[in-house]
């Protein structure tokens, strides 16, 4: 009978550079459900793990930013498909992590799947919405185009361990950035499992890197890291957010501050484009369109 069978537990591991390493420190910490029941020993990542993740994210940036928007959309949609297929697993994990009933956890997972679909559709539309031709007063074609900022550190929401996580990670990579994600400290397991989904969804290794551990211990070196271009402070409390913003000034990272609504973890509301544009640069190129002239030159 099944009663006699002992289930096989999963060893939760980090997701860095498309691989699933343990923390280089060899450390783990105990993860429990809100009632204190043991769920797993998650990797307690170190500063070195954070730096390794930045290296992986930087390496992946050129390819991901250079992929066509259509291709990125396909990949993000594939994430939704893979997640849908693992729906039961995530409902269980989210229910355990956040102490939700099965039906509430199912609603969270469904919303997360739909969020991937929402951002999958944005990849090849945002440039038309925020960019375009500027009617300058001179013989020039002047075009503004959004481009990804680079490597973005994401301090994932603490309470909404899965829908919140997806809501902050998907827009960062939809626009062509690569991400180093610090999972919810208390409830990191859904984030670590998301790594398994990303690994099977044609997301190139290194585009998303997931770390579990102490938020302060990981976010601080990421905020100060000279090869990180932006940071989303969604999961930082006010004190930490201020510290991180100060550290981020050192190489003028683009900072997305926690908003009042974020602290309420209301990620069920329809997202706007704020997170999508937070880590986009605008490049404006001037092309002369003047008379052809005798030589055929346009200037």
């Amino acid at each position: 009978m099944s009663d006699a069978r002992l289930s096989v537990l999963k060893t939760y591991k980090l997701y860095v550079g498309g691989k699933f390493p343990r923390s280089e420190s060899g450390r783990v910490y105990e993860v429990t459900d809100p009632k204190g029941k043991w769920l797993a020993n998650a990797p307690l990542s170190s500063r070195k793990d954070a730096r390794d993740a930045v290296v992986a994210a930087r390496k992946a940036f050129g390819g991901w930013a250079g992929a066509t928007a259509y291709n990125r959309g396909q990949v993000l949609y594939r994430v939704a498909e893979m997640l849908e297929g693992r729906r039961e697993q995530f409902v269980r994990e989210v229910a355990d992590a956040e102490g939700l009933s099965k039906s509430k956890a199912a609603a969270v997972v469904d919303a997360a799947v739909d969020r991937w679909v929402w951002y999958a559709g944005w990849t090849d539309k945002i440039a038309q919405v925020v960019g375009g031709a500027n009617p300058v007063a001179g013989p020039y074609l002047n075009l503004s185009t959004p481009e990804p900022t680079g490597v973005v550190a994401v301090v994932a929401p603490q309470e909404s361990s899965f829908l919140g996580l997806v809501s902050v990670v998907a827009p960062v990579i939809a626009s062509g950035n690569t991400a180093v994600v610090v999972a919810s400290e208390r409830a990191p397991l859904p984030a670590l499992s998301l790594g398994e989904v990303l690994a099977t969804s044609d997301v190139p290794g290194g585009v998303v890197n997931v770390l579990s551990g102490r938020t302060g211990e990981l976010a601080t070196p990421l905020a100060a890291h000279q090869d990180v271009n932006g940071i989303d402070l969604a999961g930082a409390d006010a004190g930490l957010a201020e510290e991180l913003e100060i550290a981020a000034a050192d190489n003028l990272k683009r900072v997305l501050r926690p908003q009042a609504v974020d602290s309420d973890a209301d990620f069920t509301a329809a997202p706007g484009t704020r997170r999508l544009t937070a880590f986009l640069e605008t490049k404006t190129v001037w092309h002369p369109t003047g008379s052809l002239g005798a030589s055929g030159s346009a200037y």
Partner: protein
């Protein structure tokens, strides 16, 4: 030495100073009134071309900042509640008055800043008026700007601007702020306060409500007090990267919206198929416009190795024809350096270039006896490790590097902490597009350089800052979105 400039010498053609009447002293402009600084401090604004004192100006301190922020706060409620069309009409009025007074303002700016009248008359002032005219039209169309149905003003904007384009930077800051319904406290640079004070008079002529615009001439301490003031909702700064980082640390945790437009080390890339004469004009414009005191200057020339000699010969020939001298002379190409401090900085960096082994060449030209001057200079034999290839000099100093392949050009162009501007010179359209696509810079000029327009978003990547000024994009910095 007989140079083309000496053979074909130009007779002096100075623009008349009589169109501008500079008062012997000016106050701070707070709540619609000119007023002394709380502690009675004043400082002198001098003409960098002659070291003549132009006027004595009240020097704002922390108390004055507080007074100005309170005035701006008081004015905010009514100003932000005005129908957009009415706010827009004030801005249209301002744009028109600037056009009417543009000759006066051009001469004033040239006197206070040291840049050639040719530039203030033909570039600065037309762009200033155009900027106000452009944002005037946005005031009643914000619902259609792509920031939601009813975007709101932020409140009081604290703005700190540099000395290189005093009135143009004022326009870039004040026009979008007012169009979106914010009120402003603006601190002009200590070496160029006068055009901002004349702008205060323009606000009076336009009938702008009191307190909507407040102007605080002063030094860095006043700027620091302004950005740190707890009742400021928005901070906008244009200036050095070092100060920008300090401001970012100051506003951290405050929730103040921040935009920074900082330094640059722009690459001007010349490929072997570029039309040499046009490219040379672009190189000259890129680094000697406004004596190179331009954040988006093309201060690194990347020239393809096969055409290096041809381009450099033509460039040096062209530099010998540049006329340096009286900024008010309509034939002057190169004016004065803005201040003794800036001249010392440029001199020190150029000396470092020489000490590190780069080869220095300056156009033969006579420098006036008084005032602050630096001859157009270029360095060859420059490597990427040289200080003159890495640090922003903010002066008429060009560093020349070479490359062999387009990939190498892109790698070198992007090898900098900055990312503000870049130029590409080639006849090949596909190469323009491919290279422009790979450059990590906010503004890229193809077969042109240093073009600006109020509809065109301007701002940097990386440590050149964040946020955009100009165009629809420029509204975002002043809206609660």
């Amino acid at each position: 030495m007989e140079t083309p400039a000496s053979i074909f010498a130009y007779a002096p053609a100075p623009e008349s100073r009589s169109v501008v009447d500079i008062a012997p002293s000016y106050g701070l402009f707070i709540d619609g009134e000119f007023t002394d600084a709380a502690d009675g401090k004043v400082f002198k604004s001098v003409s960098p071309a002659t070291e003549e004192v132009l006027s004595e100006v009240a020097q704002a301190g922390a108390d004055d900042v507080d007074r100005a922020v309170r005035a701006a706060r008081k004015a905010f409620e009514k100003w932000s509640a005005l129908p957009g069309a009415e706010r827009g009409k004030y801005l249209f009025r301002i744009a028109r008055i600037i056009q009417e007074r543009s000759r006066e303002l051009a001469v004033l700016e040239t006197l206070d800043n040291g840049k050639p009248i040719k530039e203030t008359r033909d570039a600065d002032l037309p762009l200033v008026a155009a900027h106000f005219f452009y944002y005037a039209g946005w005031a009643d169309k914000l619902d259609h700007a792509g920031y939601g149905a009813d975007p709101r003003a932020l409140g009081v904007a604290g703005q700190v601007i540099p000395w290189n384009f005093p009135l143009l930077m004022l326009a870039w800051k004040i026009a979008p702020a007012l169009a979106t319904g914010n009120t402003v406290v603006l601190k002009p640079a200590e070496t160029t306060p006068l055009s901002a004070l004349f702008f205060a008079d323009i606000c009076r002529q336009a009938g702008l409500p009191k307190g909507v615009v407040n102007i605080l001439p002063g030094y860095g301490d006043a700027g620091a007090a302004l950005v740190a003031h707890p009742d400021v909702n928005k901070v906008a700064f244009t200036g050095s990267t070092a100060v920008g980082k300090e401001i970012a640390r100051t506003v951290a945790g405050s929730g103040k919206k921040l935009t920074l437009e900082l330094g640059g080390k722009g690459a001007n890339i010349v490929f072997d198929d570029a039309p040499v004469d046009q490219a040379v004009e672009g190189i000259v414009n890129g680094i000697f416009f406004n004596q190179g005191q331009v954040c988006c200057a093309g201060s690194r020339l990347l020239v393809q190795e096969s055409v290096q000699d041809e381009v450099l010969d033509a460039l040096k020939r062209r530099l010998t024809t540049l006329r340096l001298g009286d900024p008010l002379d309509k034939n002057t190409d190169i004016g004065a350096i803005n201040s003794a401090e800036q001249l010392a900085r440029i001199t020190a960096l150029a000396d470092t270039g020489e000490a590190e082994g780069a080869e220095r060449w300056s156009a033969p030209c006579e420098l006036p006896d008084s005032g602050y001057w630096f001859a157009p200079t270029l360095f060859t034999n420059v490597t990427q490790a040289h200080t003159v290839a890495r640090d922003e000099i903010f002066g008429p100093v060009l560093s020349v590097l070479t490359f062999r392949t387009p990939d190498e050009a892109v790698a070198k162009a992007n090898n900098t902490q900055y990312g503000l501007s870049a130029g590409i010179w080639t006849e090949k359209g596909s190469r323009i597009l491919a290279v422009a696509n790979k450059l990590r810079a906010g503004v890229v000029w193809a077969n042109t350089f240093n073009k600006f327009d109020p509809t065109s978003p301007f701002g940097g990547y990386k440590e050149s800052g964040f946020g955009r000024e100009g165009g629809r994009h420029g509204l975002e910095a002043y809206l609660d979105v």
